[in-house]
C-alpha cells in the first residue's frame, strides 16, 4: 500500500518536471513582460507538430530535429514579439489578451487544417521504455527522469541568465520600468524581443519532450496553457524556482487523483490548484 502511494507520488513529481517545462516560458513572459500569452500552449503544440514533420516526414532523428527547432523557435519568438505583440503591449489590457487569444485560435485551426485532428506522438527510441528499478515495485522511467533534470537545469540556467548576466540585468531593468529603461538608453522593444526569443527556445525544448512523452493533437494547446498557468500562479509570479514547485504540486495532485480513478487525473490537478489559490492568492513563493 505504502509502496503504491510512494510510487504514485514519485511519478507525479517527475510529471511535474514536464509541467514545469511548459510553464518556464510562461513564467518568463509573466515575470518580465508582465503579460499572459494565451497562445503559449498552442505555440508549444505547433512546435511539436513541426518536430513530427521533421522526424516523420524527413526521417531525421528526434534529437537532431530538436536541435534544428530550438534556434528557429528562438528567432520565431523574437519576430513574434517584434512584429505583433510589441504593437499591443503598451495599449490597454484587453488588446494583449485578445491578440494572443486570436493567435491561439488561428494556430489550433491551422494545425487542424494541415495535420488533421488525429492524436499524434513522436517516437523517441529506446529511451522511451528504459527504466531504472529502485526498490520492490518502484521503477523510474529514464525519460521522465531526464525531463525532470532538464527542467531543473533549464531553470538554473535561466536564473543565472536573469540575475548574473548583462542581458539579464537589462531585461530586469526594462521589466521594472520601461520608461526609465528607455531614459537610460536601453532599447526596450529590442530587449523584450530578446526575452521572447528566450521564451521561444524554452518552448522548443518543452515541445520536444512533450512530443516524445505524451500524445498531442491540434487542440491540446489550451490544456497545456492551463497547467502552465496554474504552475506559474502557484509558484508565485516571476519566481522561476517557484514555477518548478508549482509544476510538481500539479503533477503530484494529478498522479494521486489518477490513483483513485483514472478519470479524476486532470480534475484533481485543477481542484488542488483552486484550493491552494484560495488560501494563498499571491502564490507560495511570491517575488513581488
Amino acid at each position: 500500500m505504502v509502496e503504491i502511494w510512494t510510487n504514485q507520488i514519485l511519478q507525479g513529481v517527475l510529471l511535474g518536471g514536464l509541467y514545469a517545462l511548459f510553464a518556464i516560458g510562461l513564467s518568463l513572459s509573466v515575470g518580465v513582460m508582465r503579460f499572459v500569452n494565451i497562445a503559449h500552449g498552442d505555440l508549444i503544440v505547433m512546435i511539436s507538430f513541426v518536430l513530427l514533420s521533421l522526424t516523420g516526414g524527413l526521417g531525421l532523428p528526434t534529437l537532431a530535429a530538436v536541435a534544428i527547432v530550438i534556434p528557429i523557435s528562438f528567432v520565431g519568438g523574437y519576430l513574434l514579439q517584434r512584429l505583433l505583440l510589441q504593437r499591443v503591449l503598451g495599449k490597454d489590457v484587453l488588446s494583449i489578451i485578445l491578440v494572443t487569444f486570436g493567435l491561439s485560435i488561428v494556430i489550433q485551426n491551422a494545425l487542424q487544417g494541415v495535420y488533421g485532428a488525429d492524436i499524434r506522438k513522436v517516437g523517441g527510441g529506446a529511451i522511451e521504455t528504459a527504466t531504472i528499478p529502485l526498490s520492490g515495485n518502484i521503477n523510474v522511467g529514464v525519460l521522465p527522469l531526464v525531463i525532470f533534470i532538464s527542467a531543473t537545469l533549464l531553470i538554473w540556467l535561466l536564473d543565472l541568465l536573469l540575475y548574473r548576466s548583462r542581458i539579464g540585468a537589462r531585461i530586469r531593468a526594462v521589466s521594472d520600468s520601461v520608461a526609465t529603461a528607455d531614459l537610460v538608453g536601453l532599447r526596450s522593444a529590442r530587449i523584450y524581443a530578446i526575452a521572447m526569443a528566450i521564451v521561444g527556445a524554452t518552448m522548443a525544448i518543452s515541445a520536444g519532450f512533450m512530443a516524445i512523452w505524451t500524445n498531442f493533437d491540434p487542440t491540446s494547446g489550451p490544456s497545456r496553457l492551463l497547467i502552465a498557468f496554474e504552475a506559474v500562479v502557484l509558484g508565485g509570479l516571476g519566481n522561476l524556482w517557484g514555477t518548478l514547485i508549482g509544476g510538481i504540486i500539479i503533477g503530484v495532485a494529478q498522479a494521486v487523483g489518477a490513483q483513485f480513478d483514472a478519470a479524476w487525473q486532470v480534475l484533481a490537478g485543477h481542484i488542488v490548484f483552486l484550493a491552494i489559490f484560495l488560501t494563498r492568492p499571491q502564490g507560495l513563493f511570491p517575488k513581488y
Partner: protein
C-alpha cells in the same frame, strides 16, 4: 457638401434599420419556416451572450474566457429541474438563471483575486473545472451526456413547428429583457460610472466611482442571463453533454469574435457584430476549420487598427449613438444655450489665464 454619414440623418437611418430589425424579430414566427426560426433563435441567444460579454469586457474591465461556464451550468440546472425534479417548464428555465447566479458568488470569490489577463485565464480554469465536474454527474450521463426525454420535450409543444415557435418567443423575451434592463443599467448612475471606467479606469476611480462594487454588480448581473440562455440553448439542442453544453468555441470564442468585430465597449457593437457573424457563418460554414483562420486574423487586425470595431469605424463619421446610453449634459441642451455659452466662455477665460 457634407458626407451623408456625418449628418444627423445617418443616425435617423440607423435607428430606422434598428426598428426594422425589432419589427422583424417580433414577427419572426409568422414569416419564417422552421429552419429560419432555428437560426434566428440561435442568433438571439448568441446576441444575449455577446451583450453580456461586452458588459464585462467592454465596460467593467473583466475579460473572461470562461463565460461558457455559466451557460453550461444553466443548461445542466434546467435539465435537472425539468427532467429529474419534474418542475414546471417555465420555472425550470428560471431556476437555471437562479442557479447560475448562485454559482457566480463562489466563482467571483476565486477569480476576483486575479486581474486582467490572469483573471481571463483564471476564469478559464474555473470553467474547465466545472465542465469536468459536470462529466462526473452519472445521472446526467457522465462524460457523454444525455438526451431530453420525449415527454419533457413535448411540454414545450407537441409538434415540431409549434415547439420551434415557442422557443423562439422565449428567446425573444430573454433578449428583450436583457437588452432593456442592461440599457437601463447603463443609463443609471452605475452605468455612468461604468462608461467612465471604460474610458479611463484610474480617472473613474479618482472621481469616486466604486470600481469593486461596479465589477461585482456587473458579474452578478451577467451570470443569471447566461444561465437562462443556457437553458434555452438546451431546449434547442435537446440534450446536455459536458463538451457541448460547456462549449468554449460556441459560447466564448464566437462571442468574443462577435463583440470584437462589431465593437467592444458600445451598445451597437454586439448587435452589428452578431449580424456580420451570422452572415459570415452562412458563407464560411462550408470551409470547416478555415473559417476560424479567417476570423482570427480579422480580429487581430481590428485590434491593431480600430480597437472599437466596425461601430468604432462608423462612429468616426456618424454624429451620435443609435442606442443612446449617455446623456447630453443639460448645460449644452438647446434651451440652456446661454448658460452653456457663458460656461464655455468662463472656462476658456480660466484656461487662457493659466
Amino acid at each position: 457638401m457634407t458626407h451623408f454619414l456625418t449628418t444627423s440623418y445617418s443616425v435617423f437611418v440607423g435607428r430606422l434599420l434598428l426598428a426594422c430589425g425589432i419589427v422583424f424579430l417580433a414577427t419572426g414566427p409568422f414569416l419564417l419556416d422552421a429552419s429560419g426560426m432555428q437560426v434566428m433563435t440561435e442568433f438571439m441567444l448568441m446576441l444575449v451572450l455577446a451583450l453580456m460579454w461586452n458588459l464585462l469586457a467592454g465596460y467593467a474591465d473583466i475579460v473572461t474566457i470562461g463565460q461558457h461556464a455559466f451557460v453550461g451550468v444553466g443548461a445542466y440546472a434546467f435539465f435537472g429541474f425539468l427532467v429529474f425534479g419534474e418542475w414546471n417548464p417555465y420555472l425550470s428555465v428560471l431556476m437555471a438563471g437562479a442557479v447560475a447566479m448562485l454559482l457566480a458568488v463562489p466563482v467571483m470569490v476565486i477569480i476576483f483575486r486575479l486581474r486582467t489577463a490572469y483573471l481571463a485565464v483564471g476564469s478559464w480554469v474555473v470553467a474547465e473545472t466545472l465542465m469536468l465536474c459536470a462529466g462526473k454527474l452519472s445521472a446526467f450521463g457522465g462524460g457523454s451526456g444525455i438526451s431530453m426525454p420525449v415527454s419533457a420535450v413535448k411540454q414545450f409543444g407537441a409538434r415540431i413547428g409549434e415547439r420551434y415557435a415557442h422557443i423562439y418567443w422565449l428567446a425573444l423575451v430573454l433578449l428583450a429583457v436583457v437588452f432593456i434592463s442592461t440599457w437601463l443599467l447603463m443609463r443609471s448612475a452605475v452605468g455612468l460610472g461604468l462608461t467612465a471606467m471604460r474610458d479611463n479606469e484610474d480617472g473613474a476611480g479618482a472621481v469616486g466611482v466604486n470600481l469593486t462594487r461596479s465589477r461585482v454588480l456587473c458579474f452578478l448581473w451577467t451570470a443569471p442571463f447566461l444561465g437562462l440562455a443556457g437553458a434555452l440553448i438546451t431546449l434547442q439542442k435537446l440534450r446536455v453533454a459536458p463538451p457541448a453544453s460547456f462549449s468554449i468555441t460556441e459560447w466564448t470564442v464566437y462571442i468574443i469574435f462577435i463583440v470584437l468585430i462589431g465593437g467592444v465597449g458600445s451598445f451597437e457593437g454586439p448587435v452589428i457584430g452578431g449580424i456580420v457573424f451570422f452572415l459570415l457563418r452562412e458563407y464560411l460554414a462550408e470551409v470547416g476549420v478555415w473559417h476560424f483562420i479567417v476570423l482570427g486574423p480579422i480580429s487581430i487586425v481590428i485590434i491593431l487598427i480600430e480597437p472599437r470595431g466596425l461601430w468604432g469605424l462608423l462612429r468616426r463619421f456618424v454624429p451620435g449613438d443609435l442606442i443612446p446610453v449617455s446623456y447630453t449634459p443639460s448645460a449644452l441642451k438647446g434651451t440652456k444655450t446661454e448658460k452653456a455659452r457663458s460656461l464655455a466662455a468662463s472656462t476658456s477665460d480660466v484656461l487662457s489665464q493659466s
